[in-house]
Subunit: 326 residues, 2 copies
């Protein structure tokens, strides 16, 4: 039910996934009549792998997240996470209230033993075509200790190594300078912990202007910094796209070229398309929880589901649990 | 002497400024022979308004900033700031070591009475053509109290109101959400202080994706967050420019169009050009100190000098001092 457009975006995305992956079953949690109004022309195969769990209650984006545990237990968000806790579902994907999703997941699923704090992990484009890096935390923890940052690095590298062929994963700390004396104490302490670690390649501090350079597969920071970073990137992309369109309108002969440039502009737009990088993982809890951006389109919500499917296939929470026991 | 290219960039920029502003005098502090090698074809008018203060010592970008007060007192950076302290110069512009410039300025010039901490204030492009916003702090203080954030807002608004015709200045706090309960305690406390202030228009919290939207003239955050924010923006711009060039190379007919598209691409590049926004001010000390980006080109270093000239013309440090006494 979540996101700016609700079922009109999420349900069609779910149907695409069901058509593409013939072994996937999806349980749609929310208002049955609104969901059903988005279901038309279902093939028998898709219909058989689609279930609806009805609840009329939606926990809105405007609500304070901490009220969900008191008043929101019959909301679609809470019930969806509960399906993962009970073992009925392998993963929960939501475009709803981020804070509420996180609180509910931490409350119902509990942390993987040994994990101090779960983190939200997002994807960023990296310089090589189709390349990307993971950034965490992007909002679960405003402030973090050195050990928490260290654990984020470890969890991120487990995910990267299992989902991609990158081994060892390259890990960096986001900081305001490359030199060892730069930045906050907890970051410098985390750097010492990471330098001792043999399971991944610690590449040191990277600065904000380097996050897209493909220098690291996993970039670690506290949740406040990560949230500002990822949103600033999105803002910069938007401002440049506007600028390109403004420039085209500026002279009449640009407008003539614009017609011929359409496929070119489409290529640029596609490479920058936020939907390609949609789907943030709540990493560190006992289950797979993926948060889609609220204003994501159908393709973006599909990406978020695909992201969850890959984590289920490799049983990422279990890999992290094994690593934490070392 | 500072910056990636040293006098070969800074000296030509100074000459342009002297040609453009006939009442400006510039004192170049550094290695006389290296400076002189960049001075050719000086008109009598320019020559008469150019002085050189010779020192062979350069405080490098690799040095730890805190060593400058012990070992760097004969460096060009220290001597340049000393000219402001003694009253011989109205402002100091440097492309050198940011930390060292800041430490030296705070040590020699002292804070404006009442100012707890000076801040570094940078310019960001805003959505309207040619529009911009000021972001502070971008690196002077890793962590800030509510009152320090409040003072940053006040100093920023004094500068905006004096240098531009924007009155009252619109002030926002950079945060991870728009709602009052979001973010760190010090930011929420600063929000309460700002809401009570009548001298400027407090517009509330803005998120990373909104910083370019022209919602505020002054955007306030701690120095760690601001540094990551401004560098992330620069990185995003670079990655998109690379992408455009990659896309052009991808198909032969794009390359044909690229020839015709040149003026268009130049327009886009010009609007994004970092030199347009070059020149960060150390605000809150008793003097005008402007830091140019280390990799800035001649046009960028000129912008940094222009920025200092405007602050001298309006006597910004004095305006802030007056405001602090209220």
């Amino acid at each position: 039910m979540g996101g700016d457009s609700g079922p009109s975006v999420t349900v069609p995305a779910c149907l695409s996934i069901l058509r593409r992956h013939l072994t996937v079953r999806l349980l749609l949690v929310g208002d049955e009549s609104r969901i059903k109004s988005c279901l038309n022309d279902l093939s028998a195969s898709v219909h058989a792998r689609l279930e609806i769990l009805h609840t009329p209650v939606v926990f809105s984006n405007e609500s304070r997240p901490d009220t969900i545990l008191r008043n929101g237990r019959d909301s679609s968000l809470f019930l969806a996470v509960e399906q993962v806790r009970s073992g009925y579902a392998h993963a929960c994907i939501s475009a709803g209230n981020t804070g509420a999703l996180m609180l509910t997941a931490r409350h119902l699923l509990k942390n993987i033993p040994g994990v101090e704090k779960p983190a939200i992990m997002a994807m960023l484009p990296a310089s090589r075509a189709g390349g990307f890096a993971y950034l965490l935390d992007v909002g679960a923890n405003l402030e973090c200790t050195a050990n928490q940052l260290f654990q984020f690095a470890m969890m991120g590298s487990v995910l990267v190594t299992s989902l991609t062929d990158k081994s060892p994963a390259r890990v960096a700390l986001l900081n305001i300078g490359a030199e060892a004396h730069k930045g906050k104490q907890e970051i410098r302490d985390a750097s010492l912990l990471l330098a001792d670690c043999k399971e991944f390649e610690y590449v040191g501090f990277i600065e904000g202007n380097q996050i897209f350079d493909g220098l690291a597969d996993v970039i670690v920071c506290d949740g406040f910094t990560g949230n500002i970073t990822i949103k600033t990137s999105a803002g910069a992309v938007k401002v440049i796209q506007n600028l390109i369109h403004q420039s085209i309108r500026k002279r009449w002969y640009y407008r003539v070229f614009a017609f011929w440039m359409k496929p070119f502009l489409r290529d640029v737009r596609r490479a920058l398309k936020p939907s390609r990088y949609n789907g943030a993982t709540l990493i560190g809890v006992q289950g797979v929880i993926v948060k889609s951006h609220g204003n994501s389109d159908k393709a973006g919500f599909e990406q978020a589901i695909e992201h969850a499917l890959r984590q289920i296939a490799f049983d990422v929470p279990n890999l992290i649990a094994t690593r934490m026991q070392k």
